[in-house]
Each structure stands twice: as structure tokens, then as C-alpha cells.
């Protein structure tokens, strides 16, 4: 299905045509049925992703952060069409027009696939232990009939060198590599088809700091050299601040704030963002002791029964009666930043 460019409906994109636009997600939803009992009767649904809209421009690194269980991985898996979205549109643009990934048949999807790649969180389980490194990195090239024979070997060797591995490592098996090296293999595989968009789901959280620094530097460097866009899912807000151009904050299946990294970190517009930033532990014992943290009181809501009104209101220290009744829209607050809080203009939230 081809959709013309003016069908861009996400709130972030105020209608202006933007040649650099690569991906426009609008109204994305993914509900999982909840089954109970012997007959596995459906008794409810988990609204893992509940109306998410955002855009990614070419060459841009967008951070996706937020509460555990808020649907970040599910968004990533929907974009990759590893999950079939319940509703919404995922438009992937080329120079002329956008293609809606949601409506594509399996065959059409195969043509698009090379343009999107995912790097998984766990370098230990995401690589097939019975394949050599050469086979792992070369597989996408073979499956998509991009290269074979000596050309294949050359391209694999180049990819390995690109991520700082030795061309001789080709014939070794994943278990012979450290966690950081395996993550490099995962990155080499993801970049094999020169994707336009890389979805990295917590690519460095399983790695220790000095290796993490190497991988982050590698991603930044590769992005400059090859110029792909990236959705970077992470819990570590310090890492996200360091590497991302823009950041989206998720809470209970929705984006509650999205904006330029600097703006969002210095002047958050949503109370959840404020709480998140204040909870980041900083590697400085004295400063850490003197810091005050926004404590989130109240019960953590569940995606199977989201509260009425603002989804954050049961835990928000600023909540007013309006917040309990009315769902706040994601709306422009400051330059290049959107938030979904009734009180954004009134509050003076603390950043870092």
C-alpha cells in the first residue's frame, strides 16, 4: 500500500513536508489478550502500546526511555513487524512516498525488511551458537541474495572490521567471544544490509562500562560514517543523553513527552520525566547523598486496566481534579517539544 506524503497525521508533524523524514508512526496500538482458565478464555487485554505517534528523521538517533513494561520493546517489535499491530500506521518513507508497514503482505514485507534492522538486548542469547561468526553476519546477505561466494566473504570481513573485530574471527563460534564482542557481532549483522533504520533494544545494558563506552563510541562513529537512523531503547538516561538527538519518554503504553535531548533534560515538561531524571543514580557518593529524589508514591498501574484521565495521575504529586477525569493530549509545549500534561505551562519542573 502506497500512501501519499500528505497523509502524515502525527501531532509532531505539523503538516510541513520534510524531505528528511524516514519514519512516521501514528496511533500505534498493540493489545495482548489476557487468557485464563482451562479453556484459555479471553478475560481482558493488556494495552502494551496504546496510541503511540512519533517520527524519525534520516540520520537521527531517537532515544526511547520510560517505565519498565511501558511498551518500548513492543513498539520496536511492531516496527519490525515481529508483532502485528492492533491498530495504527507505520509509514516508512523513501524520497517520494511512504509505505505503510502495517498493511504489507509477508512478501512485500520481505522487500522492505533490509531497510530495518534490530539489535537485541542480550548478546548471549541472540546469536545462534551453532553458526560461525561469518555465517551469522553473512546470513542476511545470503537470505536477501545480496552477495555470495568470494564477494560474500569480502563483505563479511569488511563488516567485521567496521565493528572492530578481526577478519580472522570469521570461523570462530559466538561462545568464544566476550559479551562486548558478541554485541559487536550483532551490530555487524544488523548493518550487513545497510539498513536505513536500526532499532537497538538496550544494546549496551548487559555490558560493563568500559565495553559499553566502546560500543557507544562505535555506534556514534558508524552513524557518522554510514548515516543510518536509530531508535535507541534504554534505561540508562545518562547514556541516552550522551548519544541521542531526541528522546521520547513512555509511560503505560503512551509517549508522555518527546523533544530535543537538551531541552527535555534541562526543562522537562511532564512530571514523569522529572521523576525519571531525579531517580538516575549518579556516580558521585556525596552528590548522590545530597540529591533529593522525586518519590513516586502509589501503586504502579497496570496496562490491563489503565486509570481514567491522565495515566500518570495516581502517582503524580501535582495532580488536580482535572487530571483524574480528562486524558491529556500530547501537545506542543515548547519549541520542538511535546508533552501530555494538563499543567505543563503552570509547573516549573526540575531538570538536570
Amino acid at each position: 500500500m502506497i500512501i501519499s506524503t500528505d497523509a502524515r497525521t502525527s501531532p509532531e508533524h505539523a503538516g510541513a513536508s520534510d524531505r528528511n523524514l524516514l519514519l512516521a508512526v501514528s496511533g500505534l496500538r498493540k493489545y495482548f489478550p489476557i487468557r485464563r482458565g482451562l479453556l484459555r478464555k479471553v478475560v481482558g487485554e493488556t494495552r502494551a502500546v496504546d496510541g503511540v505517534s512519533f517520527e524519525v528523521r534520516r540520520g537521527e538517533m531517537l532515544g526511547l526511555v520510560g517505565e519498565s513494561g511501558s511498551g518500548k520493546t513492543t513498539v520496536g517489535r511492531c516496527l519490525m513487524r515481529l508483532l502485528q499491530p492492533t491498530a495504527g500506521r507505520i509509514l516508512l518513507y523513501n524520497a517520494m512516498a511512504g509505505v505503510d508497514l502495517c498493511g504489507l503482505s509477508a512478501r512485500k514485507l520481505r522487500d522492505i525488511r533490509p531497510r530495518l534492522q534490530m539489535i537485541f538486548q542480550d548478546p548471549h542469547s541472540s546469536l545462534n551458537p551453532r553458526m560461525t561468526v561469518g555465517e551469522i553476519v553473512g546470513e542476511p546477505l545470503i537470505v536477501n541474495r545480496v552477495a555470495k561466494g568470494t564477494e560474500l566473504n569480502e563483505r563479511v570481513a569488511t563488516l567485521l572490521e567496521l565493528v572492530g573485530l578481526n577478519g580472522d574471527d570469521l570461523r570462530r563460534y559466538p561462545h568464544a567471544f566476550s559479551g562486548g564482542q558478541r554485541q559487536r557481532i550483532g551490530i555487524a549483522r544488523a548493518l550487513a544490509l545497510r539498513p536505513e533504520l536500526v532499532i537497538a533494544d538496550e544494546p549496551v545494558s548487559a555490558l560493563d562500562v568500559s565495553v559499553q563506552a566502546q560500543i557507544l563510541n562505535l555506534l556514534a562513529e558508524l552513524r557518522e560514517r554510514i548515516g543510518f537512523s536509530c531508535i535507541f531503547i534504554a534505561h540508562d538516561l545518562s547514556v541516552v543523553e550522551h548519544i541521542c538527538d531526541r528522546v521520547a519518554v513512555m509511560y503505560l503504553g503512551r509517549i508522555v513527552e518527546i523533544g530535543d535531548t537538551d531541552t527535555l533534560y534541562r526543562a522537562p515538561q511532564h512530571p514523569y520525566t522529572e521523576a525519571l531524571l531525579s531517580a538516575v543514580p549518579i556516580p558521585d557518593p556525596v552528590a548522590q547523598r545530597e540529591r533529593t529524589r522525586v518519590r513516586l508514591e502509589g501503586e504502579v498501574p497496570d496496562a490491563s486496566s489503565p486509570p481514567p484521565g491522565c495515566p500518570f495521575h495516581p502517582r503524580c504529586r501535582y495532580a488536580e481534579p482535572l487530571c483524574r477525569e480528562c486524558v491529556p493530549e500530547l501537545r506542543p509545549i515548547a519549541e520542538k517539544s511535546l508533552a501530555s500534561c494538563h499543567l505543563s505551562e503552570k509547573l516549573n519542573l526540575k531538570g538536570v
Binding site: H124, Q214, H235
Partner: protein, 341 residues
């Protein structure tokens, strides 16, 4: 206060095709009730194996080759050397879960996929606390709520694959904490959690620590979590302790070049710069091919000829730029009287 756990010269080895390797090499430290010892270091340096050695869960063909682990059980009994217990015997089984609990690094490996998480936690409560089924169940749900699992009554009926990564990790934390252990071995307990839930879990650990004096061995690569939680920090590299001291000493006056590199490579919130992070060059040596002398030597920018010999872990008093302090120990020739600058 007398230590709850005293590890002396612990050495855990693995036979491999290239000979025996020491994954944990002559490690000595102790933990006091109510305190938290933070264990940090490069991947593969032996942190998990140190914790597994305490519980006598070293995977075969690995074994403890030397050293002792003195543990002072509940009720004021005489300390026992865990190293001397049979790893499959009743004595160590009595201690596991009941006295010493562990949060394992990989939640999926310690949660059973075919049982609901509620059943798994209740099972462990019933086993160790002699509670009846109903009581055990209630305790399980209560603990799930305390680690921040939404709708805990409902979630208790779900299987591990139905939970998000962070929820699984919290289920495991609930399982470890529900038996009120005297010592908690927490191996990367919060890596999969968002920071607000992480804060909640860390605070829960602290409050249990205050309530009944639980001691914690905290393994993490998040230096921020160490700064928040630790009363003492042990830094390991390639199986050995290379630096040890109070958090202030480690963070503000790191002595070992590895510790210095580690701290420099952490991005700090609010100090965004376009510059690349300062990564330590190179990779950790494989245990089979450890360089002679200081294991950090090939990556160290300050190495000297003497570094081909193994430095001792010693009080940092010899250092020109460190205050004489026997509590701050380092294993590096730079701080040796003769060889240091």
C-alpha cells in the same frame, strides 16, 4: 561489629583444554551485618563466580581450590566454613534461601517457565519459612507489590514469558527477599529496570537492611548504583581484587589505572558533551592467556618495566597523591615505595 561473612584467599578454578584457570584468584574481603559491599569490575573478572562460590553453586567442572568462607549463622551459632560443606548436602541447602539468598544475573535461567511466578515464590516461602500454602501465597503477592509489580494478585498468576524484562527481574527479587535472608547476594539486580523502579527496589533493600540487619553483596556495573548503595567497594580485574576502599576513596581518589579508566568511561547525567567517551583501549585478557605480572598491563598507559611482576594488594600509604590510609588498598606498582613516582 563482627563480620557476617569472611572470605579469605578464595580461589575458584576451572580445568580447561589450555590448563587450569583461576577465575577467582586469592580474593579476600568481609561483609558486616547491615552493610553493603559493592563488587565491580570488567565482564568475566569473576564477580558472579565469587557469589556462586559462597553458595557453593560453582558450575562443574569448576571448583574451589583454596581459601575459606566463614559464615556466622542466625541465632549466634559458631561460624562455619562454607568451603568445607558438601555442595549437595543438607547443611548448605539449609543456608541457601533461608540465610543467604541470591538474585541471579539472568532472570530467565532462575525462573521456571512452566510455573506461574506466584507459585514459584510461594513454593520458596513454604519451603524455607514453614508457612502454609495460603499464607505463602499471600506473602508472595505482598512481596510482588513491594518490588513494584503492578496488579500483583493478577500478575502472580502469569508465566514468566508474559512479563516484560523488568517485571521478570522484579519477580526474582521478590523471590530472594521474601525469605528475609541475613545475606543477600545481588548479581546485577536492577539492570533491566527503569530508574524509578530501580530506586524503589534499592530503597526496599535498604529498608530491609535497616529492619533486620540484612547484609548485601551488590554486584553491578552501574557506578551510580554503587555510589548510592555501597559502604565499601571492591574492584576486581581478571580474577583478582585490584582496589578496595570506601566509596569516597574509590570515586574521588581512584588509584588503580583500571579503576580510573572505569570511572572515566561512565557518561554522567547532565554532563553531556559531543565528545566520545573515554573507553579503556583493548579488551580483557582471556584467563588462559593472562599476561605475566599485572593483568592490566597490556591496556595500561602507565605501565613500567617492573609491571611484569605481580604487585601485591597493599595499603595505599606509599602513594604520593594519596593520604596514608590502610583502608584503601591497591594492587599496582605505581604506589610502591621503590617503583612509584
Amino acid at each position: 561489629m563482627e563480620p557476617l561473612l569472611e572470605i579469605r584467599g578464595l580461589t575458584t578454578v576451572f580445568p580447561t583444554d589450555d590448563g587450569t584457570v583461576c577465575a577467582v584468584n586469592d580474593v579476600t574481603f568481609s561483609i558486616t551485618p547491615g552493610k553493603t559491599l559493592g563488587l565491580v569490575g570488567e565482564s568475566g573478572c569473576g564477580k558472579s563466580l565469587t557469589a556462586l562460590s559462597i553458595l557453593r553453586l560453582v558450575p562443574a567442572p569448576g571448583r574451589i581450590a583454596a581459601g575459606s568462607i566463614w559464615y556466622r549463622p542466625k541465632g549466634g551459632n559458631a561460624p562455619i566454613d562454607l568451603v568445607r560443606l558438601c555442595p549437595h548436602g543438607d547443611a548448605i541447602r539449609e543456608i541457601r534461601g533461608n540465610e543467604i539468598a541470591m538474585i541471579f544475573q539472568e532472570p530467565m535461567t532462575s525462573l521456571n517457565p512452566v510455573y506461574t511466578i506466584g507459585n514459584q515464590i510461594a513454593e520458596s516461602v513454604a519451603l524455607h519459612q514453614a508457612a502454609d500454602r495460603k499464607e505463602a501465597r499471600a506473602r508472595a503477592v505482598e512481596m510482588l507489590a513491594r518490588v513494584g509489580i503492578p496488579n500483583p494478585r493478577q500478575r502472580a498468576k502469569e508465566y514468566p514469558h508474559q512479563l516484560s524484562g523488568g517485571m521478570r527481574q522484579r519477580a526474582m527479587i521478590a523471590m530472594a527477599l521474601c525469605c528475609r535472608p541475613a545475606l543477600l547476594l545481588a548479581d546485577e539486580p536492577t539492570t533491566a529496570l527503569d530508574v524509578t523502579i530501580q530506586a524503589q527496589v534499592l530503597e526496599l533493600m535498604k529498608s530491609l537492611q535497616q529492619e533486620f540487619g540484612m547484609a548485601i553483596l551488590l554486584i553491578t556495573h552501574d557506578m551510580g548504583v554503587i555510589a548510592e548503595m555501597a559502604d565499601e567497594v571492591v574492584v576486581m580485574y581478571a580474577g583478582r581484587v585490584v582496589e578496595q576502599g570506601e566509596p569516597e576513596a574509590i570515586f574521588y581518589k581512584p588509584l588503580h589505572p583500571y579503576t580510573q579508566g572505569l570511572l572515566a568511561s561512565v557518561p554522567v547525567l547532565g554532563r553531556r558533551s559531543k565528545a566520545r567517551l573515554v573507553a579503556i583501549p583493548g579488551t580483557v585478557p582471556r584467563l588462559q592467556r593472562l599476561p605475566q605480572g599485572c593483568a592490566f598491563r597490556p591496556r595500561c598507559s602507565r605501565r613500567m618495566p617492573v609491571c611484569v611482576e605481580m604487585p601485591e594488594l597493599e595499603g595505599a600509604s606509599g602513594a604520593a597523591d594519596a593520604s596514608p590510609n590502610a583502608d584503601h588498598k591497591v594492587r599496582c606498582w605505581l604506589y610502591d615505595h621503590q617503583h612509584g613516582r
